[in-house]
């Protein structure tokens, strides 16, 4: 029982990170209709910039994540302007090639600035809680709580605020939205910026329990693609449910079956979804 509770919290913390990363990706897919293969690299860059502010400049932890998230928002906007916007009328493969190029660029940049060595980010949040005999570290509680707060804020932003509603409008009908005066190009910038911001929050939260390296985004990239395919491409609730479902499935299979199966679970899920319900759990109307 203790083991189960321990793993439940480990799974929830992992799910929080997956969610934050996956939501950005699914938003970008909804608005720009492209799989942003550089998403993991933005996550990595977010982690390094948080590290820079926290460790090199000595900014407090939460503030460091906040500043990094804002900076990455700008990077996301820049990525849209410099890479995806000029390609908006070209065939889909061009976006993917450009995204892979951006990914390698960010990785090389991080290696040039911070080196290839692993780095450790120290967190001021130490200690842990004893929940029914399981030892849960405070950092994991922070991850879960922050993920919930950020997700709630995001839901409010998209459903209630004018700027957020424009995202949903463009997702639903690009031409219709531009007819009523919404600029698709502004919304594209906003969305990519937002996705980079969310990825940075995820990275800033998880970095203290893991290590920073220029390739840290690669593994996450694969997982978040599995998540948004499971949840349904472009679907917000899909990304949330998918994120927690995949994280819990991973942790629990690793615990009760074997670690090898735990590692493979994302891909088993992916294949199963594509075979049985290719549109994912929360299907959105697919428009051209």
């Amino acid at each position: 029982m203790t083991l189960f509770i321990q793993q439940l919290f480990n799974g929830l913390a992992l799910g929080g990170v997956y969610c934050l990363a996956a939501i950005g990706l699914t938003l970008v897919f909804g608005v720009l209709r492209i799989p942003n293969l550089a998403h993991g690299a933005l996550y990595m860059l977010g982690a390094y910039i948080t590290y820079f502010f926290l460790t090199t400049l000595g900014v407090p932890y939460i503030a460091a994540i906040g500043i990094a998230a804002l900076l990455l928002f700008v990077v996301g906007v820049g990525l849209e302007r410099l890479v995806f916007h000029p390609l908006r009328n070209s065939p889909h493969t061009h976006h993917m090639i450009a995204a892979v190029g951006a990914m390698f660029f960010f990785q090389a940049l991080a290696q040039a600035i911070w080196g290839a060595d692993f780095r450790r980010m120290k967190t001021p949040i130490t200690g842990g809680l004893d929940i029914l005999g399981a030892e849960i570290s405070a950092q994991r509680i922070v991850i879960i709580v922050t993920a919930v707060i950020v997700l709630a804020l995001l839901a409010w932003f998209i459903k209630r605020s004018i700027h957020g509603q424009t995202i949903e409008a463009i997702e639903q009908d690009r031409i219709g939205a531009s007819l009523v005066g919404i600029s698709p190009s502004m919304v594209s910038m906003l969305t990519l910026g937002l996705s980079a911001l969310l990825a940075t929050v995820a990275a800033g939260l998880v970095a203290p329990i893991n290590l920073l390296s220029p390739t840290m985004g690669d593994a996450l990239n694969l997982k978040v693609f599995a998540i948004i395919i499971l949840g349904g491409l472009g679907s917000l609730p899909g990304a949330i449910v998918g994120g927690f479902a995949l994280a819990l499935a991973e942790t629990m299979t690793a615990t009760y079956i074997s670690s090898a199966v735990g590692e493979a679970v994302a891909f088993i899920v992916l294949v199963a979804v594509l075979a049985i319900k290719p549109t994912g759990l929360f299907t959105k109307a697919v428009q051209r």
């Binding site: 083991l3 321990q6 793993q7 480990n10 799974g11 913390a13 992992l14 990170v17 990785q107 090389a108 290696q111 080196g115 290839a116 060595d117 692993f118 450790r120 842990g128 030892e135 570290s137 994991r140 998880v206 329990i209 893991n210 290590l211 390296s213 220029p214 390739t215 690669d218 593994a219 996450l220 991973e250 942790t251 690793a254 615990t255 074997s258 670690s259 090898a260 735990g262 590692e263």
Partner: protein, 403 residues
């Protein structure tokens, strides 16, 4: 498509031709000029991607050796020779490593190519004695590369299989009979897991399930650690790159594990201490840190390393052993009187070993080379990091490279 006007086209063509010419001249310039002969030492290793840190550690060792050797002066057949390092990135891919090696041998006439990865070395062994001939300076502890009887291979580190028996004995003495496996899922990690499993069983110990995880892709080690600890082990086998290994050990201590650790040779205890508190690493058996060696050149080497890489970086055996390796090769060139015949160089290694200057002996210097090309240091030692944070040396009896 816009068409380019004729005059512009001519100008484009002309500038392209001049550009190509300039480039090819620059490429030629690197070779024969300067005083005496320049000999290129080739290196193909991961310089970007996930293995970049490892590849750079090796590269630093090669650079340090070449700088020192050039400063001392290398003389082959009465002629002064300048060594030059040429590095190519293979991103850890064996096929890229093989084409890099081919390029280094053909274009740069490198008589020696260094590679730090078993898979890459096996691929290079397909091409190094045939149409092109070059010596592989092989940095891997996988004995499979000498079992293949390649005539032009020099294997630098000890065979990893030698560690299992002694690690088992030490860990049992300080922990107990029940072992949990929590190594990494790389090919090398799995070979280690197997080797430790066999040794542990031979010593009458009990082993739980295989909890190996891929250190490179797991975002949170708490899950795998909780699972391994649920078996209530007395000892845990861990190991992959130093830093994630350190995180796993920290997590295990946090979750209340008090037994001993067996640390695979890829992880270095002193390097691990840079990311976690030494307290979390105590009661472990692993390879001896470079700084604990008492070889004649070690102290100077550490100083030079700190100058080059900064004092925050910990020198590891990747750097130190490749430093020694290049010194051995340079001496073998001097003894054989040849800089371009890899067979002569390889044949001269045995006679060259006792002649190498003491300053290049930094990390357990080898005394002989086996017929298959494995450098052997008869006094191999590992270490036990005790509860006070002190390193105690543990002598290792080496096993044969043949299965």
């Amino acid at each position: 498509m816009n068409s380019v006007p004729r005059s512009r086209r001519h100008r484009l063509l002309a500038s392209a031709a001049i550009g190509t010419l300039a480039l090819s001249m620059a490429a030629c310039g690197g070779g024969g000029s300067g005083d005496g002969d320049t000999v290129v030492i080739g290196y193909t290793g991961p310089l970007s991607g996930g293995g970049a840190a490892y590849g750079e550690n090796v590269q630093i060792g090669l650079e340090m050796a070449i700088d020192d050797l050039n400063a001392d002066g290398v003389e082959v057949d009465g002629e002064p020779v300048t060594l030059e390092l040429k590095s190519l990135d293979d991103k850890y891919a064996p096929s890229t490593a093989a084409s890099n090696a081919q390029r280094l041998a053909d274009q740069d006439k490198a008589p020696v190519v260094v590679s730090p990865n078993a898979g890459a070395i096996k691929a290079i062994q397909q091409i190094n004695s045939g149409r092109s001939n070059f010596l592989i300076s092989a940095y891997t502890s996988d004995p499979a590369i000498v079992q293949s009887d390649n005539p032009l291979t020099m294997m630098i580190p000890p065979n990893f299989e030698s560690y299992a028996a002694e690690f088992t004995e030490t860990a049992m003495k300080h922990g107990g009979k029940k072992l949990a496996l929590l190594g990494t899922q790389s090919e090398y990690g799995q070979q280690w897991t197997e080797s430790i499993t066999d040794a542990w069983k031979d010593a009458g110990g009990k082993i739980g399930g295989d909890n190996s995880v891929d250190y490179a892709t797991v975002s949170d080690f708490a899950g795998p650690v909780s699972k391994a600890l649920a078996e209530k082990p007395d000892a845990i086998f861990v190991g992959g790159p130093s830093q994630p290994t350190a995180l796993i050990m920290e997590e295990a201590r946090k979750q209340g594990f008090e037994g001993s650790f067996l640390v695979m040779d890829q992880a270095k205890l002193d390097e691990m201490a840079t990311v976690t508190k030494l307290d979390n690493l105590k009661n472990s058996v692993g390879v001896l840190p470079v700084s604990e060696y008492e070889d004649p050149g070690t102290a100077d080497f550490l100083k030079k390393y700190a100058d080059k890489a900064g004092d925050k970086k910990v020198p590891t055996s990747e750097t130190a052993l490749n430093y020694q390796g290049i010194a051995i090769i340079a001496k073998a060139m001097e003894v054989s009187g040849s800089v371009d015949d890899p067979e002569k160089i390889r044949a001269a290694i045995s006679d060259a070993l006792p002649e190498v200057d003491d300053k290049y002996k930094v990390n357990g210097f080898p005394e002989e080379i086996t017929e298959q090309g494995h450098l052997l240091n008869p006094n191999l030692e590992a270490t036990y990091l005790d509860d006070e944070g002190k390193y105690t040396k543990v002598p290792i009896e080496q096993v044969s490279d043949n299965k």
